[in-house]
Amino acid sequence: MNETVLWEETIQPGASWSHVLKRGTALRVTDLEGGANVGGIFFNFECPTERYNMPDTLKAQHVARLTTGFVVYSDMGRILLSVTADTVGWHDPIGGTSNRKLVEAKYGPSSYQKDRNDYHKDGRDSFLVELGKWGLGRRDLVANVNLFSRVDVSDDGTMSFAQGHSKAGDSIDLRAEMNVLVILNTCQHPLDTNPKYQPKPVRVLIRQVAAPTIEDPCRVSRPENGRGFTLTERYFM
């Protein structure tokens, strides 16, 4: 099957984006300038009470990072997305998102009146507005992932942000295993040590892809994921 590119576009710095990524297509997100952060929450489009579940994703795979071979689980034992390619090696599933108070404390006051479309955006408000477009709201604001960011945890539990982790041209491929409502924004990571408000743009590319085979690397990476694929395939039978 040809991996036909369907379309691509740029998500501007500090902007929000959403799309129903159909089963059989994949989303490539590319960090255009280096140092991007892309907050993401994912839902089963047909039944959005089924949604990305951080703990289920972490404990099924015994990880606190995402990269090639790992998958993104819903709370219903199914796989929303598979990470089929990644040049970064570590995407953060624990660090969370910024809010208005944090952004104002870090970067100072900002408003549309003064700054026009460069006004400072925060992750929480960005998620809520984009969720609202799909009839979703505060009850649907669950733990998010941060593509292109890395948060290290020391032995005593301290979290630290890896500055300059992702480079210009780095990309991650997310294959949809269900019809997935993808909610993204390019707000800075809440632990970003850059004192300046400098969100970065990313490119998104959507293409048709072949269905995962029986030897698919994400399926065989561990027995848990094999069962996750089985449960996902049963949903479509």
Partner: protein
């Protein structure tokens, strides 16, 4: 490996006496529990028999869409472990409760709650029938009958559970660091609704393969 924390600044005992509590209740293994805790009241969970995971969620009692957020809580203190001094943050940035005493020393908020479906993924498709925390959560919010549903079941706290993250980015489940009689105590900073599933998991060592009762106690706010 037993990793009991025997010293450190996190280990803080409470001066509150159980006899003075205004509410005491033993939650049996596998049971849910739901109750409002008023601003200023103190709320203690006692691991009566040791190594028992207590899956817990909190909500703003006046707006259930504003609820405990695991990510906001660990972000606010820049540390993944919950202990004395930890402020339990809501998704809207409010402080729901503060941990004021802790004789265990470390609690988890990344491991989440078990579910029929996650047990199928983690252990075997045939495990679906086994009792799980998210079924207890659902049972409790349905009986509470205030319009809550699965949409309100989010990433929870696992009191008395030890789930370290390694430098290589692995999430590991270590043997419990709790023992009989260890407790954690919180002060409610606003009126909250507390929701607990006393974990029935038998497929991993989070309850030492033997789920046991825990006690919850509430003390009146200081005058």
């Amino acid at each position: 490996m037993s990793a009991t924390i025997t010293s450190g600044k996190n280990l803080v005992e409470s001066k509150l006496r159980p006899e003075a509590a205004i509410y005491r209740h033993v939650i049996n293994a596998g049971d849910p529990w739901i109750r409002e805790i008023k601003q200023g009241q103190y709320f203690r969970i006692v691991d009566l028999h040791g190594n028992q995971a207590v899956d817990t969620l909190f909500y703003n009692a006046h707006d259930y869409s504003d609820r405990y957020s695991a990510q906001d809580t660990i972000l606010q203190q820049r540390n993944i472990y919950l202990t004395t001094g930890t402020r339990l943050m809501s998704s809207a940035g409010a402080i729901l409760l503060t941990i004021v005493a802790d004789t265990c020393g470390r609690h988890d908020t990344l491991g989440g709650a078990c579910a029929n479906e996650s047990n199928m993924v983690r252990y075997a498709l045939e495990k679906r029938h086994m009792h799980a925390c998210r079924s207890s959560f659902l049972k409790a919010v349905i009986e509470w009958d205030h319009g809550m549903s699965k949409r309100d079941i989010t990433s929870n706290i696992n009191f008395f559970m030890n789930v370290p993250v390694t430098r290589e980015g692995k999430l590991t489940f270590e043997d419990g660091i709790s023992e009989p009689g260890k407790y954690v105590e919180m002060r409610a900073e606003t009126d909250v609704l507390a929701l607990i599933s006393n974990c029935p998991q038998l497929n991993n060592p989070c309850n030492a393969y033997n789920p046991t009762p825990v006690e919850v106690l509430i003390w009146a706010a200081e005058p």
